[in-house]
Amino acid sequence: MKLKFRNLAIAAATVLGAAMANPAIHAANYPTKPITMLVPFSAGGPTDTVARLLAQAMGADLGQQVIVENVAGAGGTLAPERLTRSAPDGYTILIHHIGMSTAPTLYRKLRYNPLEDFEHIGLINEVPMTIVARKDFPPNTLTELVEYVKANKDKVTYANAGIGAASHLCGLLFMSTVGVQVTTVPYKGTGPAMNDLLGGQVDFMCDQTTNTTSQIKGGKIKVYAITTGNRVSSLPDVPTTKEAGLPELEVSVWHGLYAPKGTPKEIVERLSKSLQVALKDPTVIERFGDLGTEPIAQERATPQAHRDFLKAEIDKWAPIIKAAGTYAD
């Protein structure tokens, strides 16, 4: 009896071992162990929140845990670098936001190419930005804001969360659309920036709905517009920039999922499918809604759509950043 069992065990192990060594079968069985999702910012921030929600839902679909690992640093460029050094076996993926498209222009010594060095899995969501100001700032609508800024361009101050942050980009776009340069005051992150806005130390800024919604609802800051095409359910009374008169001012903090270059096509497809399933998950939709965002349309959560959009964004932001002349290195 014992001998028979032992033989069986050895036979099974051999077959299994041979099977594991075969990459085709490997892909078919994917995933067989937990997957790591790299997040380029520290835990607790908006991207991290989206990542964790997604990880939960994707993990349920894939049947293996998706573990979030924060690799913060260098303005969000450390994590993609890590990804380029990771094995292309589908067990390490990366979430990143609009920063992926602006990094090549902002960082002249960047060590990776967002289009060529990664496999693109799909887009995740788009978080609109809101144009907000301190409570006692004179203008009350977007049109008034533009007039006020033009008339007082030497006195007005604009806050952002640091060079390369979404709020910085939004500010650049604002200034180039309106045609006025105002004094930009950089902060280390949106927390300190919001702090000074609440305290009335600085005049106005752009920030993601994630961070501004509760302050707006609490009446502590003023809001002028949402920078995407449609109104947001969590802030139904806020007009879009298109409605309020500045249609060119469209910025959204979009998130996308990436894998190392060379990850087998079947695995990328599997991840993409899993992403689409996660985006239909009711909890994800609900939580995204609380954050002021919603999951991206299913057809954009695909590799090709992602890659095309990324290229479009890179091309959109490059001239604006170059015109401003401030780089991150």
Binding site: A43, G44, A74, V185, N195, A328
Partner: protein, 500 residues
Amino acid sequence: MELLNNLAVGFEAALTWTNLVYCFIGVFLGTLIGVLPGLGPTATIAMLLPITFTLPPVSALIMLAGIYYGSQYGGSTTAILVNLPGEAASVVTTLDGYQMARQGRAGVALATAAIGSFFAGTVATVIIAFFAPPLAEIGLMFGAAEYFSLMVLGLVAAIVLARGSLLHALGMVVLGLLLGLIGTDVNSGALRFTFDNPRLADGISFVVVAMGMFGLGEIIRNLEHEATRTMVTSKIESLIPTREDVRRMIAPILRGTAIGSVLGILPGSGSILGAFAAYSVEKKVSKYSAEFGKGAIEGVAAPESANNAGAQTSFIPMLTLGIPSNPVMALMIGAMIIQGIQPGPAVIDEQPDLFWGVIVSMWIGNLFLVILNLPLIGLWVRIVTVPYHLLYPAILAFAAVGVFSLNNTEFDVLLLALFGVLGYVFAKLDCEPAPMLLGFILGPMMEEYLRRALLLSRGDPMTFIERPISAGLLACAVVAIIIAFLPAISRKREEVFQED
């Protein structure tokens, strides 16, 4: 009174069995992390965030909060026993705490830290309960100019911290300021002193510097005199503070609590600055100031109270305004968002059980902590009796792992080794590490606020004096410098006389 109603709501929420258990788990974990050098509440909370998904929001926050302020308790343990600050804010506790341990009074030092922390935590919780919203408003009145002036005051404190030569204290402070500048410049985005290494783009972590200079440096120092070293092994005196000790700790605890509570509210400065400030003030004000640096009990009581008070009051901006005052608060906000709660001014009204429940649980947590920690003192003190040649490799291992866990990169471990060498060299040259560390923290902040203040005032330097709070702080700094130098001048006179 409305307050009593609110507290009732809070007690109801906090005193459920579930929440009591989570509170206990939180403070227990927190103490453990605080004791383990290097591993801080930020890393731990980040790792535990996924678990909080499945918990009800009140329980999740209670547990996470417990981890945070619990870690302030634990951090002092290793600071006192082996000169390794378990928590950034415990750096100051090493100054006198470790000396007390060397004199066989580790137990007393630990007890002082626990008592001071408990008192401070309790008082701070009361402050939060009564004054949270107005205090948050005051926090908002601090703009860049005010912060800059506060930092200047802090720098003056650094000089006061010096034990030895004033010149070297100044040198170390400036060196610290310079080292703090390594990384990205907020105002221009430029990378400074990073030698094209992306790992330096966010600067060097405070924990790495502290571990290297205090921890490793101390290990090497001890090995130097190994043969002649009188380790504390032989004489552990009583674990309980004497009457005299208790009498001496009262005032420092009160002062430390006050200073820590105030500074904790200000986003950015947090409990570290509170601990340093409390120590400096105590040193100036105490009649035993000559003993500071050699094992004065006030030197443990004041900073420990301050850092615990600060840990509690740093919740205020987070709970009332939804603004994180430090990375741990940012994580809590993240946890709340994942739970579907929008942190911000609405939380007090829309989720009173959350708000008041967390506050009341803080008080309960402090109680748990003192009950947990006091009996453990006997255990901790035994660690000191372990033969040093067996103990220090363990210290090294914990420091290395702890430092790694900050950013999950081995580069930090390499830096740890470098600062170990530096720490040892400077120690041999009688240059104190504490002023350097304070300069390290303050440097980048000072520059950031200075430039931002000038940006906001459009280049007008008078802004620092025109704004009342800022002017007041600068005036305090000037007064402090004068007071600091008065004895120095008369001391110089004495020296000259002696040499002749």
